[in-house]
Symmetry: C2
Subunit: 304 residues, 2 copies
């Protein structure tokens, strides 16, 4: 089944202790759709400016990503610039230029409106709702957000959180939304808003997936070389949703496997700048690392 994703396509300038990527391809929708494209068909909804080079569109198309919904508007493409310290856990944003994103009005191509899987990547919650309303009967909707929207548009965001099936956010965002320091309590409160599941990303510490009745914990893959964490969260979400759309299995078991596939994709993505690692990734490597996750977490039950 195909996924529709709405989010950003951006030029990123990223500094880490290991190097610098200048004006490289980035954005939440880019990372998400590339990761998801290893598992299923993806249709992209985003906006770029007239400075966006055709080579990037060709790359997306080479991943079989439908770019009919990629608007090209007069002006400059969204730009983000950030820096990571040695711990690589959190980026310090140096500059944000919204540019064409400021007047973005997502208008879904007719073929997108029957999508069964919808991911509302980090973007203005009013736009997320707008897109959600254009999709007729989605089987599964998930969303992300960020601290900026949590503080500046809490009401619009709350409406989105009530409408989606799965919320995929990081630890700090879960705490910020609820004002609750304890993550388990924060999770219960977010689920009580109306979504069925909450996936909490914790960077190098992995992922927790909550429902009202259960918790699943997946570690991050321990890596000796992490070059650039940019896009890890969206890459995770792309692997997660991509696998779900591929199998259609929305059972607890299927969702847990999807969490691990998301973690696999994120673990590869941070090994190089921008989408460079995903550009040379193949499905065999994905399977191999899934198996490594099994070896990483497996322990024998005891008899009672």
């Amino acid at each position: 089944m195909s996924i529709v994703v709405v989010g950003t396509v951006a030029f990123d300038t990223v500094e880490t202790p290991f190097g610098r990527g200048e004006h490289v391809l980035g954005g939440s929708a880019t990372y998400f759709s590339t990761a998801a494209s290893f598992f299923t068909d993806v249709s992209l909804v985003a906006v770029v400016g007239d400075d966006f080079p055709e080579e990037h569109v060709i790359f997306l198309k080479s991943r079989n990503i439908d770019t009919t919904g990629l608007q090209r508007n007069p002006g400059k493409t969204f730009r983000w610039s950030g820096r990571y310290g040695f711990d690589l856990n959190e980026a310090q944003t140096l500059d944000t230029q919204l540019n064409v994103l400021m007047d973005f009005q997502p208008d879904l191509p007719e073929a997108y409106r029957d999508a069964e899987y919808l991911f509302l990547a980090n973007i203005d919650p009013d736009l997320q709702m707008n897109v959600l309303e254009q999709v007729r009967k989605p089987k599964l909707v998930a969303c992300d957000t960020m601290n900026f929207w949590i503080s500046s548009k809490p009401d619009a965001l709350r409406k989105v959180l009530q409408k989606v099936d799965i919320v995929v956010i990081n630890e700090g965002e879960a705490r910020q939304i609820t004002g609750e320091a304890n993550l388990v309590k924060a999770a219960r409160q977010i689920i009580a808003l109306g979504c069925k599941r909450l996936v909490v990303k914790r960077g190098e510490y992995g992922v927790l997936m909550f429902t009202a009745e259960s918790v699943f914990a997946a570690p991050a893959y321990p890596l000796e070389e992490v070059f650039d964490p940019t896009g890890a969260g969206d890459t995770f979400a792309g692997g997660f949703m991509g696998y779900l759309a591929n199998t259609g299995d929305l059972s607890e078991e299927g969702l847990r496997q999807a969490i691990v596939f998301g973690s696999v994709m994120a673990s590869y993505n941070v090994e190089d700048f921008s989408l460079n690692r995903m550009k040379r990734l193949d499905y065999h490597e994905i399977q191999t690392r899934f198996r490594s996750f099994k070896g990483l977490t497996n322990f024998k039950d005891i008899s009672y």
Copy 2:
């Protein structure tokens, strides 16, 4: 098989956002031996002052802990005072009074010297080495340490790290010992010093166990109520070593189960101040939470 542990027995004064424990029983050897006592016989090596109430000794004996090696010296018992903020991740030390600990000379009772399992809890590395040399043919030796010894006695500490089988420290300590920000690289460097395994405690993010060839990741149990993290690391180590001494199974599989039992014990310990939760814990609860860890981490393999 029985375990010998050398470490501290202390009076703690602890403040958390949820309450205050004043002058309560604490210390690395106390937490360790109590946790280990659910699995095996434990012999304690530590020092207290003449202010140490008999009721605490009676408690330790009630857990079948051999206190022959608990010296009672003239002066005051070691005191530690600390405060935790809302995130409960790291204590701010408010006061440390070494008291009788300053002149502590561990002298192992004859019966202790044939111990097969030895845990060198966080204490001066010279004392750790002293104790290690008194045990004739241990089957397994593990040690902990802390930032204070890493910076003040690096050479003495290094000798200990070379002599033990398993190093059990927290994430910050692993980075501090090696000066390496990447945890996987730090782990390799510590193992290269001479130990076979490194167990890295990451508080609410769980535990990683490294060998030269493998990594095992165990999450922490997601808790809605964490009252007091004091002693969680030593309680973890006590469950870990206690289970190993109980089974004698030092295979990778046995060690992974031991990591989970350690995590189970730590998860209970933080539910109340001091050792209060362990005082009312029973083995059935331990088994039940082990099973919950299985449910928390389990995912189905894929076919290839």
